[in-house]
């Protein structure tokens, strides 16, 4: 970047700082300055033009250095740009693209990209048809996501949202998707925890962290998601699918509110600025699936919203629900019951994920929805304490096993074929006579076996499986393999299954 003197000579305009209010300064002069233009002070502090009044220009300073009254300011005649390149992968940077992980400068040739880009239009977009494997069986089967989808992750604090997001990032990074985690106004320890998790899972080299801590100036925190999205666009344009996590937009809204109130803008609902909807909508519109030659590439966005006591009717949550393609709700009551992930499936929505599922997945999901609803009703009946009929007991039995299958530890990634097999085993009552603990143990063994590649033949045959009956046949055909993994004969289990069926009759 050029120096102040160079910009001064090049553009021939100068301003003087008249007043300073935290990160906001008011500058006289600069007669032809444009909105959102980058300006630079004598001491090298950069700022973005926020507003232009008759005699003064309002500028949001980016650097934590202090400006002084009377300091000269020059125009750059350009927008704020950040450096981007493939070398950013595996690094932690601040919203200005500067490395903050202590691993030295980012080497190699870099491209400069404007942070405030306009989203691509309709003609560049393609229908979302590929599923985004999350590695979390509950989501992959019940709330499927597509590549290019914007899915809101909502919930109270400490309900497991970040853990869930890290699981998705791990699964996608293993498939060579570039994963970007944007920490917005978080604690530095949170960024460290994210880095450690991704390194432990061996996928950090396919990830990038853009981080603005709560101690950074409000301007940098405001900029963080834009930087993340700009980097996502760069990697998308190189032909890679990208997953971007914005953690969290509630903080982003609060910092933007702070900036707007300091700028003496008229506050709207809950004192947020009137354009808060546009700010978030324009940001999220930059995600999506677009054409690239004969193929397509995508940026899938997972913005996070923190609610208070499960209140979904707040201003920011309702705004972001309106501008995304669905939401996954993390329920504090599910969390207290021990469910992990603590997702409330009945209140979660996916608007485009369904079109990415295969026929078999559709049928499994429909069967699961039915079984889970029956389970809920059976639970309500069980509270009364009287003797339950056989059908209700069966519904409880199946529901408990489904919950055991859906429960997933933070470091466990369940590939989708594994999830379908596990659910097939439950739906066909293979685990009907086993205890919940046994089910959990066998589930873990099966997932480990899948991750080691022992079930490659089954995965290869999935394309021929179109319904639950053929899934059952597939399981029976591979009973030896199941026996090797589980150290038990699955046919024995099927005999018990037949007994249960006879008992039901």
């Amino acid at each position: 970047m050029k120096t102040f003197e160079e910009y001064l000579r090049e553009n021939g305009e100068v301003g003087h700082i008249q007043s300073i209010i935290q990160s906001i300064v008011y500058i006289s002069g600069l007669p032809k300055v444009k909105p959102k233009e980058l300006v630079i002070t004598e001491t090298g502090i950069k700022g973005i033009v926020q507003g232009i009044e008759e005699e003064l220009v309002e500028v949001l300073l980016l650097s934590p250095d202090k400006a002084s009254i009377g300091e000269r300011v020059a125009r750059t005649n350009d927008n704020l740009k950040i450096p981007v390149s493939a070398s950013f992968s595996g690094r932690i940077v601040n919203p200005l693209g500067e490395p903050i992980d202590g691993s030295g400068p980012i080497m190699g040739e870099k491209e400069e990209r404007s942070v405030f880009q306009k989203a691509l239009g309709i003609k560049d977009r393609v229908k979302i048809s590929d599923q985004l494997d999350t590695g979390v069986s509950l989501v992959d089967v019940m709330i499927p996501l597509g590549k290019g989808q914007r899915e809101l992750i909502m919930g109270d604090q400490k309900t497991g949202k970040t853990t869930f997001l890290l699981q998705i990032m791990t699964q996608q990074a293993k498939k060579n998707t570039l994963c970007i985690y944007v920490g917005i106004g978080k604690r530095s320890q949170d960024a460290k925890n994210v880095e450690e998790y991704l390194r432990k899972m061996g996928v950090f080299e396919n990830c990038l962290i853009v981080f603005a801590s709560s101690a950074d100036p409000a301007s940098l925190v405001f900029l963080a998601p834009y930087t993340g999205m700009t980097m996502a666009e760069y990697f998308r344009d190189t032909g890679r699918d990208v997953l971007i996590v914005l953690d969290d937009l509630t903080n982003h809204a609060k910092f933007y509110r702070e900036i707007s109130l300091l700028s003496k803008r008229m506050p709207a609902r809950e004192s947020y600025p009137g354009d808060i909807f546009h700010v978030h909508a324009a940001l999220l519109e930059r995600a999506g699936r677009i054409k690239k030659g004969d193929t397509s590439v995508s940026i899938s966005a997972l913005p996070v919203i923190e609610t208070v006591q499960g209140d979904l009717t707040g201003y920011i949550p309702t705004n972001t629900m309106a501008m995304t393609d669905g939401h996954i709700l993390f329920d504090a009551s599910e969390y207290k019951k021990g469910r992990r992930p603590a997702v409330n499936v009945s209140l979660s929505v996916t608007r485009v994920g369904n079109q990415t599922q295969s026929q078999l997945e559709h049928k499994i999901r429909r069967a699961l929805v039915e079984r889970l609803n029956l389970y809920k009703k059976a639970q309500e009946l069980a509270h009364f304490g009287f003797d339950l009929p056989l059908k209700t007991r069966t519904d409880l039995n199946v529901g408990e096993r489904l919950e055991a299958v859906f429960d997933q530890e933070s470091h466990t990634i369940v590939p989708k074929p594994a999830a379908l097999i596990l659910l097939g085993l439950v739906l066909h009552d293979y685990w009907a006579s086993k205890s919940i603990d046994q089910v959990r143990v066998e589930r873990t063994k099966l997932v480990e076996a899948f991750n080691k590649g022992l079930f490659k033949n089954i995965e290869a045959s999935f394309s021929k499986v179109a319904d639950l009956v053929s899934l059952d046949n597939l399981i029976k055909e591979n009973e030896d393999l199941f026996g090797k993994v589980l150290y038990s004969n699955i046919l024995t289990t099927s005999k018990i299954k037949e007994q249960v069926e006879r008992g039901q009759k």
């Binding site: 001064l8 000579r9 021939g12 305009e13 100068v14 301003g15 006289s28 002069g29 600069l30 007669p31 020059a74």
Partner: protein, 165 residues
């Protein structure tokens, strides 16, 4: 407030230093307006302000153009200070310390075609070697010799590089 009376104060005020002196005198006169009960302000401010300022105040008193009550006088001097702060300013960077005659010459040149004398904020910067930089209403023009020399040297260097290639 009628600002035509203020123009009397600004005759021969053409630099920031002179302007600052005038502002100081105006502040002193404002303070004295309240502190003194004397009918004639010019008598109260004698010795505390410059002779020229004192003379202007005396002339205004003679023509009954200076307010009589302390509150009105205070408003008068507030208005004067506001008027002085809004005078057009031009910042100049020169490589040498200019004489009074030189400053007046520049001032008269800039006054042509304008209804008011701009206030010159002259800074001495020997590193520009010669020429000047001018800044007015946010517009910056660099006529310094250093910049011109830089351009010539860059041109020569790029020519030589091309020849070597």
């Amino acid at each position: 407030m009628d600002t035509s009376v203020f123009k009397e104060f600004t005759t021969n005020i053409n630099t920031v230093d002179k302007l600052n002196e005038l502002l100081t005198d105006a502040s002193e006169a404002e303070t004295t307006s309240f502190a003194s009960s004397a009918k004639h302000l010019s008598a109260s401010i004698k010795g505390k302000v410059s002779k020229k300022f004192e003379e202007i105040i005396r002339n205004l008193e003679a023509r009954n153009e200076l307010p009589k009550s302390p509150e009105d006088r205070s408003k008068f001097f507030e208005g004067l200070k506001e008027y002085l702060q809004k005078l057009p300013r031009i910042s100049l960077e020169l490589a040498f310390n200019p004489t009074e005659k030189f400053v007046n010459k520049i001032s008269n040149f800039l006054k042509e075609g304008s209804d008011s004398t701009p206030i010159l904020d002259i800074q001495v910067k020997p590193n520009i070697l010669a020429g000047t930089t001018i800044e007015k209403d946010g517009v910056f023009k660099d006529y310094s010799y250093t910049t011109r020399l830089d351009q010539i040297l860059k041109q020569k260097y790029s020519q030589r590089t091309n020849e070597n290639v």
